[in-house]
Subunit: 357 residues, 2 copies
DNA sequence: AACAGGAATTGGATCGATCCAGATGCACGA
DNA sequence: TCGTGCATCTGGATCGATCCAATTCCTGTT
């Protein structure tokens, strides 16, 4: 064979798209044989396979998705709900995660379908977002094979609902409130991540290390906080009066830092999120303190903001690429009705050190 | 009827999912009549419609997507390629745009399907991303009805390719390099956005206003820059030696600002992107200059980073929600074979003022 | 030469919706 | 009474793939 490049599909005429039957005619075999060439090539004699393959290439044929979906009762689509992002929150998690999920899904032969919750509001949920809105439709119309549900600040109410309908799904986030839940999940060990941060600032000589976290009703927030508490005690340091809790906003981070600076004079702030950490940076700037020189600050999520804010914010980084891979992995097991080896996987984050510490 | 809540689908037994034929049986009508109840209710007598509706509700029926897609030759899916985001770039654009697109699509009865370019690399494109990778497959297998292609830094090579295959698509971004292109597009007037920024800082009393932009080969970059040039001249101000060009990184922004500060002493920096603007902020911090007090800085994109960085970065905000609406709108026209009234729409950005100016 | 047994291949039925052409019912005017 | 016309409803064919059961082709054995 000469170097004539790839066998380009040569779409001679833009007539009706070729079907499996067209290919069968051209190759001089039956429809089933073409189907086998696509799905179970080992059933064909090598020379037959070759002949079919050439017909496929020359026609530029791709199997019609709808027909395949109808027959196999599966769409090879994974549904992911994207909720309205809160402006002013450095929640970069979604962006990075989404890319990784699309990549991993592709490798497994799936595509990601996005849907939203808005517009499904009924009386019961005029305020706030109905946690199961949008899932029902896609499920009933067999538009997707499975869902990926991501944990929110407060937990994961979708999981129970989906489980009760035995809809296939994998959660990003542990079943905090229902330890008995049996669905597959993947999560990142927040406490371990915060412990990394503490070790890091302790190594830098800090002893008065404050925690700026979320409210008590946030499972994730309390998990991360426990990392602070235990790591501090492990280092023989006191946590007394060094903790603040509030919402996930820049404003809260700023207020909390100003208050702590005034009363307790911590030399380091470890924060539950980058958003809150940015608030701390605001406070330092207003107090003419230089992050990284006068006071250390560590965030959580390694968001874009952390990467670009001067002088660079040290932050706990979740292994989202790995999370996505594991999720797709578990999804594959779930969809092929394999017994799930291990329903939950807890991954370890890393620490990205920048100049703020 | 009493207040018994909504007529909940009462999924008695989780047997086989109900089909249109099931509904027809229950309602005592033919399949076609059920189909009409769904797609052309005006064809039914009111009492028949009511009867069918009740059967649908009581069975919890939703039409099977695959079957419908097969018959109608359309998937009601819109394809969007997500390219690997560059870490350390404050490109928040995608996140906000994606949400808006999902919302708008939903209103029009569409869903968004994500796909990626990786893994399609062949000899010709080992380095860099093949601009048309991934489209081919989805197109041939009729997996999506249309594409949304988003402009990149350098232009939009996909557009021409898709147009040549007459694949339905709408571009976010003007056909810079092919003014004769006839495909529908939506774009934001970057020059006008920068002009807003200039007006703003001029009003604040600045006269030595520097431009920190992208390289000459970026159409978008040059468009934004032209806003600076023209607005400056409109105000009777000089642009001489006040311009820097480079790549879209924090590092470049910092270098450019330091160089300009040393030689030209501008009092304001207007930047082509938030990423570059963050670099400028770094430079100011290193030079012990306070943004918003000593020197004004304006970014472009109104990214999360701009919102949370202390003290808050003034930035040009693209009306992405409106962009998404227009895109879906044009897509609808294109798909219903209506003549497109006006192939291109140029929208105006706004300026979000924060403390950096 | 006859035959078992596996490999390779085939044609009809099927998934669940919509399209299409035709059938039925009904009201109205001639 | 008999069409005529319109609104309403029906059953068979169809979209393009895969499932299934059955058939043909090989090859080696006795």
């Amino acid at each position: 064979m000469h170097e004539t490049g790839k066998a380009e599909p040569m779409a001679r005429h833009s007539g009706p798209a070729p079907t499996l039957a067209t290919v069968a005619d051209v190759a001089g075999v039956s429809r089933q044989t073409v189907s086998n060439a696509l799905n179970s090539p080992h059933l064909l004699r090598p020379e037959t396979l070759e002949r079919v393959q050439q017909a496929i290439d020359s026609l530029g044929y791709s199997p019609n998705r709808a027909a395949r979906n109808l027959r196999t009762r599966s769409s090879h689509l994974i549904g992911l709900r994207v909720d309205p992002a809160l402006e002013g929150t450095a929640n970069v998690t979604m962006d990075r995660f989404l890319h990784s999920l699309v990549e991993s899904s592709k490798d497994a032969g799936y595509h990601v379908l996005l849907f939203s919750s808005e517009g499904y509001v009924d009386e019961a949920t005029v305020h706030g977002v109905d946690p199961v809105a949008g899932y029902e439709d896609l499920l009933r119309s067999t538009a997707v094979d499975a869902f990926v549900v991501t944990d929110t600040y407060r937990g994961n109410p979708q999981a129970g609902w989906l489980e009760s309908r035995d809809a296939p799904f994998v959660a990003f986030g542990r079943p905090w409130d229902v330890p008995a839940a049996t669905h597959p999940w993947v999560d990142v060990d927040g406490a371990a991540g915060v412990a990394l941060a503490i070790d890091h600032v302790v190594e830098r000589g800090h002893t008065r290390i404050a925690w700026v976290g979320w409210q008590k009703n946030s499972f994730i927030g309390e998990d991360r906080r426990s990392g602070w508490v235990e790591s501090m005690h492990g280092h023989g340091l006191s946590t007394s009066r060094l903790s603040a809790r509030g919402e996930d906003t820049v404003a809260f981070g700023r207020r909390a830092a100003l208050a702590l600076l005034e009363t307790e004079r911590p030399t380091a702030f470890v924060c539950v999120s980058d958003t809150v950490a940015m608030g701390v940076l605001h406070a330092l700037q207003e107090s003419d303190l230089r992050p990284g020189r006068d006071i250390a600050v560590v965030g959580f999520d390694d968001s874009v903001a952390a990467q670009v804010v001067p002088p660079g914010l040290t932050s706990v980084r979740q292994p989202l690429e790995q999370v996505a891979r594991e999720i797709v992995n578990l999804l594959g097991q779930r969809l092929s009705h394999k017994p799930i080896e291990q329903p939950g996987r807890l991954l370890s984050p890393t620490l990205t050190v920048r100049s703020s510490s």
